[in-house]
Subunit: 308 residues, 2 copies
């Protein structure tokens, strides 16, 4: 029997999504559970296992599923399938998640961080389709990144590549959570943008509201996004000079700021990157939105079981 | 008959080097001509052709040579073998050098820029041997770079990858020759270092002298190199976070500044790069010195003719 489905799991700080996908990454079934509702690691793993088991015993998918992919919000030993830790979910430290899930579910499991998983999704089925050299960026609480080079996910020496958020924007500058300083993430992370908006509007304002205001022409909101675009564009120019990329694909909540942000990024790259590299690179919005995680996880599973 | 030799040509701003190498990149014969002694492009090509012809008709090498590799000091269309231009040798613009040489010499010719050629040499026979993810840097008039990723030379979308000298060191800063601003090359190129030395010592001083003074313990000379190391280390930290490299191999005239420069680079990377990436990366001096160009060119030829 030809096993042609994969299970894609997107374990995020907010939601745990579990889906069955066909070989074209079409979503056949999707379940969403709130991550915070599980009091500890064991409860979360148990919920995940029981959701997958339900799929495995169903008549519809049961014996057609060849493997399981999991995207997680933190650094991972990809080869061993060990979660090092999650910056935003307590209680996870050196967890052999692959081994645990394989033992409980009897199927091959592949695990990678969310930025790599999103990059796979956008490369096979989204904005980076058909390109060979792409940086995928998620703009959210932090600035995450994944690299497709020569048409494959580039992992580096220890699966830690892609950290575009931690390119220095300045020689000197504020400390970063990563231990370094003046990383671009310090300047354009969610919290910084919202703090800037709070100072300007003298009240709390959401990211969505700031985007809506900018798109309606509010000058002060546009200035905030334009400034973020210059800061991001500056480190992107460095990445473009170093890697001669076909495209930079940008997703995450902040990407909804829309044209004002993208235009500022593009202008900065045009004025700062070298001519050949600047002319080549396209700056575009990610296509798969909130499904990127489960789609990428299914691709991860398929690549690991070599069925695609 | 097994053709097992290659000709490696290093066309530099100062010297034109032409060598015959065996399949282990051992140098069997080497000729050095001063580049400036040729009044124009045609004369230089003619000298190069006649030197190669002498080797082709010699009894020793004649019919054993399988191909020719050329490293050049400027951007190249690697696929077509066209020199776009040389920043430091006038008169070269969109020159189909591969075609010209193949027609005149009757052997396959491969052409690439000097930084890529140096990277190949250090990867196969120098400091980067056995590693998979390496940035090779040349510190000279400019700051050049080549990337070995996943064990092969990474060229990017248009053979323009590797430009580590054009990562921005600051959001704002002085204009760079590349058209951008605040590139690290603006801060640590030869001329800047020498200008700084001139201001401090109130006289002209060579790079060699500055290195000798630093190695003898001259505090002011050491400060100059230490400062350059912090500036280089900052952009290297960004590259290390983005690419999770095994090593950064540093060559070129400035690399002779020695331990004071290397220590400063290492300390900066340790303090600014992310822990996993910083712990992994080694910072080492290039091994092949002035032979890197001809060795890399021979490898280029061998790769192109698939004989190694």
């Amino acid at each position: 029997m030809n096993k042609k489905y994969c299970i894609g799991i997107d374990l995020g700080g907010t939601n745990l999504k579990i889906a069955v996908l066909n070989h074209n990454c079409g979503i056949l079934s999707k379940e969403i559970l709130p991550t915070q509702s599980f009091p500890h690691k064991e409860a979360l793993i148990e919920a995940l296992v029981s959701s997958v088991r339900n799929k495995l015993i169903s008549q519809e998918f049961g014996n057609k599923i060849s493997g399981i992919g999991v995207g997680v919000p933190g650094p991972v030993d990809y080869i061993k399938g060990v979660v090092h830790y999650f910056p935003n979910i307590p209680g996870w430290k050196e967890v052999p998640l692959k081994k645990i899930l394989e033992k409980k579910l009897g199927l091959p499991v592949a695990i990678d961080n969310d930025a790599n998983v999103m990059s796979l999704a956008e490369y096979y089925h989204g904005a980076a389709r058909g390109l060979r050299h792409v940086l995928c960026v998620t703009l959210g609480t932090g600035v995450g990144g994944g690299l497709i080079l020569n048409g494959t996910l580039y992992r580096g020496a220890e699966n830690a590549a892609g950290e575009i958020g931690h390119l220095p924007l300045n020689l000197e500058g504020p400390s970063c959570n990563c231990g370094g300083k003046a990383c671009v993430e310090v300047y354009v992370g969610n919290h910084r943008i919202l703090a800037r908006a709070r100072r300007i509007y003298k009240k709390d304002i959401t990211l969505e509201e700031l985007s809506v205001r900018a798109n309606k022409g509010d000058r002060r909101a546009r200035d905030i996004w334009r400034n973020a675009g210059i800061q991001l564009g500056t480190v992107f120019a460095g990445a473009v000079n170093l890697l001669n990329l076909d495209a930079i694909v940008i997703g995450g909540g902040m990407a909804n700021a829309g044209e004002v942000l993208f235009k500022s990024i593009r202008q900065t790259i045009t004025s700062r990157a070298m001519q050949v590299q600047a002319k080549r690179v396209r700056i575009c919005k990610a296509k798969l939105g909130s499904n990127a995680g489960i789609i990428g996880a299914a691709i991860l599973a398929a690549e690991a079981t070599q069925r695609f």
